[in-house]
């Protein structure tokens, strides 16, 4: 039993019902493979399974220490498939108590992340912006407009499934944002001036609203 619980240690949600969630889910798939390589057994909830009942059951019965939420959110909630609230401050935020959390969900670090008593919470305390190429939405991993934004954001949960501390995960994600900003600002790149005018403000904004609460030495 002890071995069983030690193996199952990361929960990842992957809602998929609109363009932003389809992009984030596609980019998050690598977390599963890298988690497995690092000795974790991910519990993956996809599509319609990203609902309150499944989340509650998975956390209560399998007790994963690391929870990675992808999707939409607000200052006091994280949502799942079809925007169903799955974690709500004051209602079931006790599910997050003493956990290590990464929430790729707008605004959720503001109140929920601050008040949920997680051991550590990485997320965003304002609106996250994502730009996409309307002619490339069927191939999210190859969308060069989305790549700098998602590569920077995904760096944080990526570091967590590599079993680094939340402090390291946050810093590496911040560094990734800055690398893209510097690359675009200082050197020439494969992007046109018009494309940079699109992406640079979004990168700068998203970097500034990424926050960490709690114990920076927490790790899985």
């Amino acid at each position: 039993m002890q071995m069983f619980q030690r193996c199952i240690s990361v929960l990842i949600t992957m809602p998929d019902f609109d363009l932003p969630t389809s992009y984030i889910t596609k980019w998050s798939e690598k977390l599963v493979k890298i988690g497995e390589k690092n000795g974790l057994t991910p519990i993956v909830l996809k599509g319609k399974n990203v609902n309150k009942n499944h989340i509650t059951y998975s956390i209560m019965s399998k007790n994963p220490k690391l929870l990675i939420f992808n999707g939409h959110g607000s200052s006091d909630s994280i949502t799942g498939q079809d925007n169903e609230p799955i974690i709500i401050l004051g209602e079931n935020d006790n599910l997050l108590e003493s956990k290590i959390i990464h929430a790729f969900a707008c605004n959720s670090a503001k109140d929920l992340g601050f008040k949920c008593r997680a051991e550590s919470f990485i997320g965003y305390n304002d609106w996250f912006w994502l730009c996409m190429d309307r002619f490339g939405t069927n191939r999210p991993l190859d969308d060069k407009f989305a790549q700098p934004l998602l590569e920077s954001a995904i760096e944080a949960p990526l570091q967590l499934v590599k079993r680094n501390t939340t402090g390291e995960a946050f810093e590496k994600s911040q560094q990734k944002y800055q690398e893209w900003i510097d690359k675009f600002t200082i050197s020439s790149s494969k992007y046109t001036t018009e494309e940079l005018q699109l992406i640079l403000p979004l990168l700068t904004w998203n970097k500034s609203i990424q926050v960490i609460h709690g114990n920076r030495n927490a790790k899985r």
């Binding site: 363009l19 984030i24 407009f145 640079l200 904004w205 500034s208």
Partner: protein
């Protein structure tokens, strides 16, 4: 927050320059916006329009700060 007409014009001018094939999810919302949609939001003084100005002005201020530090 209320923005001046100069700020609105500046942001609209910047938005006109972004690629036509770009679509943007604001706040990871389900709805996506083209540059024309965003310009309309600013012109109509909506909450989304104000957020677009806030984000762009934040970037311009950050850029100014970076340049001043060099």
């Amino acid at each position: 927050m209320k923005y001046s007409s100069d700020e609105k014009e500046l942001v609209i001018a910047r938005l006109r320059a972004i690629p036509d094939n770009a679509i943007i999810s604001i706040g990871l919302g389900t709805k996506t916006f083209t540059k024309d949609d965003m310009i309309r939001e600013i012109e109509k003084n909506t909450e989304t329009g104000n957020k677009i100005i806030e984000m762009q002005m934040f970037y311009l201020k950050s850029l100014k700060k970076t340049i001043q530090q060099k």
